[in-house]
């Protein structure tokens, strides 16, 4: 049997790729579609570096099979900035120095955006629990949480 031919939508654009049954969506995004903004940390759903939206739902793309993406809508970090204009979360991560090595950052940004779309006025505790599945090993979480809180306040106006 040949590889699966998958038609999907990524950041609003139609996309096609070939994959084996056991290939994760993360591997398909990175290795087949060459969109390397989504990172691999643990590969077992513990670290959140590979966070994407699948039909609007926050998931770890390492815990989704590529074949499951057929006919779905996927949102990745590449769709977050509008051209040269950063998303307010991205800008606030820079302003608050909420990243160092940057490997965890795309996952944090995708997860934080999903939170703010669901809850525009989260408490610090809600931010921390929502982001508990995103691990950062260099910056520490305080700056990240502050950047998310600042963005929430900014977006509420």
């Amino acid at each position: 049997m040949s590889r699966h031919h998958i038609s999907t939508t990524i950041n609003g654009d139609s996309a096609e790729f070939l994959c084996d049954t056991d290939e994760s969506l993360l591997d398909c995004i990175r290795n087949e579609l060459h969109m390397t903004g989504t990172k691999e940390g643990c590969g077992t759903g513990d670290c959140g570096a590979c966070s994407v939206l699948l039909d609007g739902r926050l998931v770890c793309s390492c815990l989704v099979l590529g074949v499951e993406a057929a006919g779905k809508k996927i949102d990745t970090i590449e769709g977050m900035a509008q051209g040269d204009k950063l998303h307010p979360l991205q800008r606030n991560f820079l302003e608050h120095a909420a990243l160092q090595c940057g490997i965890c950052t795309p996952g944090f940004l995708i997860a934080a955006r999903a939170l703010l779309e669901k809850n525009p006025n989260p408490t610090e505790t809600e931010v921390r629990f929502w982001l508990a599945g995103n691990l950062c090993r260099c910056t520490g979480y305080d700056k990240i949480v502050r950047a998310v809180m600042a963005t929430a306040a900014e977006l509420r106006g």
């Binding site: 049997m1 077992t44 815990l63 499951e68 939170l115 599945g133």
Partner: protein, 289 residues
């Protein structure tokens, strides 16, 4: 190695036919939060993956006989977003929502948590306490069993070849009923239960416990339904003596192992501590209804 196949049947019967007909290892895929980890670690290498999410009702939560039927592929996030079910069975929902991160909640299912058969599965003691039933489809037709009959030992279920759980049924609640679930973990989030306890109870008008079910997780090879613990509080108003008896019955039921998460002695003691707290939360919820 043979190529791993992937199928997306659109009916329960077609899924059963695929699962029953596979000569090698066939695995059901719903949320995949256990299966993909097992595949990556090569502890499970299926010949066939049957993705059940294209089957009608697998993603549905439906009212039935005053209770709720939850499809096998309903995620924790979807469960928690259902206001009526969350109001009727808050303990089941809070237990399910403890599984993994926000990302894991987007995919993980109660049915998967049950069928993965981990002794530490958070939703399972709550489901057992709730008296939930698992609907099973297989080559010999359909059957329904209490959820506690599904796991038989770590990683093993009572499901026969070709069978899979299609939904879980949460029954109707009498008035003045409440349920709750707590687990002990050494941190505040993203961990596996050292001990878990689920209790569902019904009070009479005077606040006396009319009926109760008490279940423990992570203290034996499977989650336990502890009748002696329920009997310790039925007919009481959860006075201190009744809570002491509840705690003692829970501790006595434990058959735990020592592992990196906790010692036997610790688990035995904590089972009783948690049961006291869970019973009081369940009672507070029952009094509000």
């Amino acid at each position: 190695m043979d190529e791993m196949r992937y199928e997306t049947p659109t009916s329960v019967n077609a899924a059963v036919k695929l699962l029953a007909g596979e000569k090698g290892l066939a695995k059901v895929l719903a949320g995949g939060t256990d299966l993909l980890v097992q595949m990556r670690g090569e502890t499970v290498v299926p010949n066939l993956i049957v993705d059940i999410k294209k089957i009608a009702d697998m993603k549905a939560i439906k009212k039935e006989k005053g209770g709720f039927r939850v499809g096998a592929a309903v995620s924790g996030a979807e469960l928690g977003e259902h206001p009526e079910l969350s109001k009727m069975w808050p303990g089941v929902v809070e237990a399910t929502e403890l599984i993994g991160s926000t990302q894991v909640q987007g995919r993980a299912t109660m049915t998967g948590n049950l069928c993965n058969a981990s002794p530490g599965a958070d939703s399972v003691p709550a489901l057992i306490a709730a008296g939930a039933l698992a609907a099973i489809a297989g080559p010999n037709g359909k059957r329904e069993v209490p959820v506690e009959q599904i796991p038989v030992s770590p990683g093993k279920t009572s499901l026969a070849k070709g069978e899979f759980v299609t939904s879980l049924f949460l029954p109707k609640r009498p008035k003045k009923s409440g349920d709750a679930y707590l687990r002990f973990i050494p941190r505040t989030e993203m961990d596996i239960a050292v001990v878990g306890c689920g209790i569902s109870l019904t009070l009479d008008k005077a606040g006396t416990v009319l009926a109760a079910r008490v279940a423990l997780g992570a203290v034996a090879p499977t989650a336990l339904l502890v009748d002696a613990a329920a009997n310790a509080i039925i007919g009481t108003k959860l006075e201190d003596a009744a809570l002491d008896a509840l705690a003692a019955a829970c501790s006595a039921a434990c058959r735990p192992i020592d592992d990196k998460r906790g010692t036997k002695e610790f688990r035995i003691q904590i089972a009783g501590v948690l049961a006291r707290r869970v019973a009081l939360i369940a009672r507070a919820r029952a009094l509000k209804k």
